[in-house]
Symmetry: C2
Subunit: 370 residues, 2 copies
DNA sequence: CAGCGTTAGGCAAACGATTGCATGACCCAA
DNA sequence: TTGGGTCATGCAATCGTTTGCCTAACGCTG
């Protein structure tokens, strides 16, 4: 009893004042600094920020100012500065959720680039709920972000600040969209399977809310018909549910198997669902790639470490993040570059162990290929 | 000339320019609203914020104010508010890097909890560089964050705001530390292997910069000796390099194999390295779990979807993130609860497919077990 | 009717910076 | 001597809120 009470007091951070928990010590401001230097705050500010008017201030004075600032550990109050200059040095990032995989990889690119520019960012996740997207956008604007990056997030309204989307489709005009060349991506995958000899190919389509779904599907249709291949309706399953885990891919694959239409290869919507698919195949007693080949999408870190290592279409996610950040920065920077409409990046096929030629005369479910 | 000079001096954002991308329209402030209502800004502010002084303002007036605010789409300027109230409604999160896995899962918990409280957060990653940690801490404090959450980040100095660490060790006093019961975690894993019949167990230790490394190792030593098992120095490898990928685990395992000291099970530092290890085993022609059992740590989403599915010690990362956020919020909230020293959460063993009894008389490398 | 408590709301000072416009001193040319 | 130009610096407004203190009117009590 006494002990616990003691522990509690002991845990208080102890500033010199009795009960100051969490109260930051009054830090020196421009005012204090100016008084100490016997100069006006204006002058001090100009020197410290290197304002143009500082040119007329003699070097000796400048040095005094810098020295004092360093000595007194002056740190500018960014909130006050933001208010006055009307710029927050902050941008907002919207994404479906903070989780392993896609959005996170893009985010790491965004962060890298922003940090170089001394910009910070807020992250909000909307879990694919449309009304949340609206709300998030508002909240970020309320927070005075200077720009917005929306990752896999369908925007409805154009914001009042420069906005760039990563993998957005049908975006309001004026927003820059960074996207993958989905036609080429599909062509790479289909071509690979086709060359290996696959003809009956199954597909896992993305969730309807995912911005990439339609473009990718279109790419697949093009690629298939260009090679004279037909897409059998029974061989396409759609990811259901918003969970950012492997479950939807697993479930979709089970549906595919239940349809009992033979196929020798599967092209999944992303690596995460491909991994779910592989598990579903294993449980059905099928071997990847001997019985069925699997191609993923994205090339997340763990793809190379799957068993079998995943053949996949790599999306340069980190770079897309950097590009997105660069774009907003360019648009809000002093140059105020106008928004470009879109930036298309190229996919790359990474062949690993989950694909191989189909067994002669054999297709999934043990039925002879037609 | 004169004209351009003039334009330059008033380097105002130019609203009338044709291409309007990103120029925020002058939004209505308290001032405008007050004029429109023929009231003072003070009154309007009090009504809108529900300040105590608003009690003496008659309902009719209040309704008028609310109506006008809604109609004119008034949105308070949070920067100004922050400046005045000296609180930013923002907390700072420090982590090694934004990547798949550990930190991200914790982050998702943090975000969930913060969002409920209308707090936003800044994320900075320091890539394990000590001087970056210092710098990040400073930058966040400069940004007026009200609290700090440090994930797997060794803090050197105590900040002036409430701070909580997730998996921190030897933290400066006054910071709340949220950590796993590593002794129990190790006991769970070792006990599992021991019961299966394993005696020669190899280990992958964490990188030296990882806060969990020491505590976990201590737990392992305890658990091993409690069961009368010896840790052979040749059977412990350390993760090298900061890369948040599977490579270090892969490399460590190869070193283990190169040491040619037989073992029948491996306890890896985390799931990511366990996955790397499994790949190394496969390349060496060994099967998991028949030839060698593997236990991971963390239970990241993909653990259940590995092939074989990973037996692992689950760390409630999401919950730890929520706890961390709750703690800071409690400490900066109106109640100003004092910091508790630490919160210990419990691990859980998840048995899947990567472990099984050792083959009789057989250990890795084909040498007979001693 | 003096005095006081309540009600309804306004004034103006913060918060901590940035910046347009003065100002006063100095120098130099006309 | 006057006028104009550069130098070195200061004054004070501004960014959009919040909030301590003030006032003026009203109603009530003794």
């Amino acid at each position: 009893m006494a002990k616990s009470a003691k522990t509690a007091t002991r845990n208080l951070p102890r500033y010199s004042v009795p009960n100051l928990v969490g109260t930051p010590p009054r830090s020196v401001g421009l005012k204090t600094l100016a008084e100490h230097l016997k100069l006006s705050v204006a002058t001090v500010s100009r020197v410290l920020t290197g304002a143009p008017a500082a040119k007329s201030i003699p070097k000796v004075t400048q040095d005094r100012v810098f020295a004092a600032a360093a000595e007194m550990k002056y740190r500018p109050n960014v909130v006050a500065r933001s208010l006055r200059k009307q710029q927050s040095m902050t941008i907002g990032v919207m994404l479906p959720e903070v989780s392993e995989g896609y959005a996170t990889l893009v985010l790491s690119g965004v962060e890298e680039r922003l940090m170089e520019a001394d910009y910070f960012y807020f992250v909000v996740s909307h879990h694919h709920r449309a009304e949340m997207i609206e709300r998030c956008q508002h909240m970020l604007l309320d927070r005075a972000v200077e720009g917005l990056i929306a990752i896999d997030t369908p925007l409805i309204h154009r914001a009042t600040v420069p906005t760039v989307t990563v993998s957005g489709h049908h975006e309001p005009e004026g927003v820059t969209n960074i996207l993958l060349d989905h036609n080429r991506a599909a062509a790479l995958a289909i071509d690979h399977l086709h060359r290996l000899g696959h003809r009956e190919i199954a597909f896992i389509k993305g969730q309807e809310f995912s911005s990439d779904t339609d473009a990718r599907w279109e790419g697949i249709r093009l690629a298939m018909s260009a090679r004279g291949l037909r897409i059998a309706p029974q061989l396409v399953a759609r990811l259901e549910g918003a969970a950012p885990t492997h479950d939807p891919g697993y479930a979709a694959t089970r549906r595919l198997l239940a349809a009992r239409k033979p196929f020798t290869a599967l092209f999944a919507f992303n690596d995460v669902s491909a991994i779910g698919a592989i598990r579903a195949f294993r449980e059905a007693g099928l071997h990847v790639p001997e019985d069925v080949s699997v191609v993923g999408f994205d090339d997340v870190h763990s793809a190379a470490y799957q068993n079998p290592a995943l053949t996949t279409v790599r999306q340069p996610l980190h770079r897309m993040g950097m590009l997105a950040a660069s774009q907003v920065l360019d648009q809000i920077g002093p140059a105020r570059l106008p928004a470009v409409q879109q930036i298309v990046v190229s996919p790359e096929l990474v062949v690993r162990e989950s694909t191989c030629p189909p067994r002669a005369g054999y297709a999934v479910l043990g039925k002879p290929s037609r």
